[in-house]
């Protein structure tokens, strides 16, 4: 291998100080320092998030919005302050536009069932792209089955790139809704969402952006994007699992019927008629994941305190380093080579099944995702059953990527 290309490049970003804020990064896996490169599946938690959840569980837990007693008021204040934090984080206009859900999947299902289902008629179309995660495919297929609408899929090219023209050409008078990923989870492709949203809006098409892979990597401003809905998960942005956000334009959310019935979402119930609560409670039936949402609020604080420009620059350097290092390995092919990518690399090595590669890397303490990444149509497009995916966070280092490259080479030698 060419050592000049693999030499760790200096970075002004203080990665080691940052790493100390993530306790799990100090542990050993199979006797080796953990090299966590599965951030696309779930990112690790900083102490600030762990402490926020811990503090709530120890000192403030009660059900929210229900009691006049002190604990309930404290829990409610913590939960609702997370809503304000998320509103600021994505630059929403109003806290009423922030709906807490279990995650991206639930957010998309909510829009499919509450917005799209009452609206769609046979002959109407929903437009998505070929590189969507199953969570941005299946809810639309379900609502198409329920309404007789048709799902239209915009193509990708051999680099895994989504071209504006190819998608815009499929927007028609029949298109009611356009949904796409901000960043592809399987390939890392960053989609031209701003232009796509503008094109959809010009035709009166409602837009939903799956931001699960984006919010941890880039600043998201929903007003600047101009989308109608934006969905993301807490655990991919350093918060707890089981919490997520649906952003929706208030005007649309107002018109939408509740998705689930129950407590919290009502004003008054009689057996004759129930009056629904206003936003955002209308969409938050039942006791929510209070600690998860509080943890999400802490994750937002953590990210807001970070120099996100520097973090992004570091991630971009990691991607360049990983791409260069992996390309030196014989028989290795990077899958997804769009010019604009978030910091993840999907790849295959001829003769080495990704599953075997995952086991061999794990022996070195290296965690990568192997499989179809819940994006089977993408795998089918590239005629692959699976890939290995290394997805980076700002706490990863050049040395870790060198370990990955060495581990992949070691695996290759076992099988050739």
């Amino acid at each position: 291998m060419n050592n000049t290309a693999l030499a760790a490049r200096p970075s002004s970003f203080d990665v080691n100080a940052l790493r100390r804020q993530f306790p799990v990064l100090a542990r050993l896996v199979r006797g080796k320092p953990l090299v966590y490169l599965d951030n696309g599946a779930s990112a690790q938690r900083p102490i600030a998030v762990i402490d926020a959840v811990d503090d709530y569980e120890r000192h403030h837990h009660a059900n929210i919005h229900r009691g006049v007693h002190t604990l309930s008021q404290e829990a409610t204040a913590l939960y609702e302050s997370a809503r304000d934090k998320v509103m600021d984080f994505i630059h929403a206009r109003s806290r009423n536009e922030i709906i807490f859900v279990r995650g991206t999947t639930e957010a998309i299902n909510l829009v499919a069932q509450s917005y799209a289902r009452p609206l769609l008629q046979p002959g109407d179309e929903i437009l998505i792209t070929h590189l969507e995660h199953h969570a941005n495919i299946v809810p639309w297929q379900m609502v198409c089955e329920q309404t007789g609408a048709t799902l239209i899929v915009a193509p990708i090219d051999a680099h895994g790139e989504v071209h504006f023209d190819a998608v815009a050409a499929l927007m028609s008078d029949r298109t009611r809704l356009f949904a796409c990923a901000h960043v592809s989870n399987a390939l890392g492709t960053v989609l031209p969402v701003r232009r796509l949203i503008a094109a959809a809006k010009a035709r009166g098409i409602i837009t939903l952006i799956d931001g699960a892979q984006a919010v941890s990597h880039m600043e998201v401003d929903v007003q600047e994007l101009g989308c109608d809905f934006y969905a993301f998960s807490s655990h991919k942005m350093y918060g707890p699992t089981g919490a997520g956000v649906l952003y929706g334009r208030e005007q649309l959310l107002e018109r939408m019927p509740p998705w689930q019935g129950g407590g919290e979402m009502i004003l008054a119930v009689t057996f004759a008629k129930t009056t629904y609560n206003g936003l955002p409670n209308k969409f938050e039936a039942g006791t929510p994941n209070i600690s998860g949402v509080i943890g999400l609020g802490a994750a937002v604080d953590f990210l807001q305190a970070l120099d996100r420009g520097a973090a992004h620059a570091h991630e971009t350097a990691l991607l360049a380093h990983a791409t260069a290092a992996l390309r030196q390995i014989p028989q290795l092919r990077i899958v997804g080579t769009a010019p604009d990518k978030a910091s993840l690399v999907s790849f295959v090595v001829a003769g080495v099944h990704p599953h075997d590669l995952g086991t061999i890397l794990d022996e070195d303490g290296i965690a990568v995702r192997t499989g179809h990444h819940c994006a089977m149509p993408v795998m089918e497009f590239f005629a692959l059953p699976a890939t290995a995916r290394a997805s980076f966070a700002f706490y990863n280092t050049f040395e870790e990527i060198d370990k990955l490259a060495a581990g992949v080479e070691r695996a290759r030698r076992i099988f050739v």
């Binding site: 099944h353 599953h355 086991t359 022996e363 089977m376 059953p385 699976a386 076992i414 099988f415």
Partner: protein, 151 residues
């Protein structure tokens, strides 16, 4: 726990050159096995002469453990009766999952799979083909069988 124990030479050899790989027409039983977690997919086809497996072949795609296990299985059960093959399935299943399993010596080449039990995430890879075979053998009308899934 050693990688060498998982990827033994026998496993690597059967992965590189899987035996009895391909279609089998006509066949008396054809069952598809699927591991939705990793996308492994294989089809086991066999011919029965009276109650004996006279021929067996498999095809599909999977990791080295899955491919080698299927290859070794086809070699091991060819010529065996249904009951003998099912008995072997039980013993292999024990070998893959039970730390106290003994008698690996009697399993011949199949004993090479014993390293898998140290890697719990990979047991499904090794057992998929066996579950698929067992499903084919246990059914009265194997052609009508649904696909086997590890989930």
């Amino acid at each position: 726990m050693e990688l060498n124990d998982l990827y033994r030479d026998v496993i690597l050899d059967h992965n590189r050159r899987p035996r009895n790989f391909g279609g089998l027409e006509p066949s008396d039983a054809s069952v598809e096995g699927f591991n939705p977690m990793c996308g492994d997919r294989l089809t086991v086809r066999l011919r029965l002469a009276d109650d004996t497996i006279s021929d067996i072949r498999f095809e599909g795609q999977g990791c080295a453990i899955s491919t080698a296990s299927a290859s070794l299985m086809t070699e091991a059960v060819k010529g065996k009766t249904r009951a003998e093959a099912l008995q072997l399935f039980d013993r292999v299943h024990k070998l893959l999952t039970d730390d106290a399993a003994t008698g690996a010596d009697e399993l011949g080449k199949l004993a090479a799979l014993s390293g898998v039990r140290e890697f719990p995430a990979r047991v499904k890879c090794a057992s998929l083909c066996w579950h698929t075979l067992a499903s084919a053998l246990r059914s009265g009308d194997p052609q009508a069988l649904p696909a086997v899934s590890t989930e």
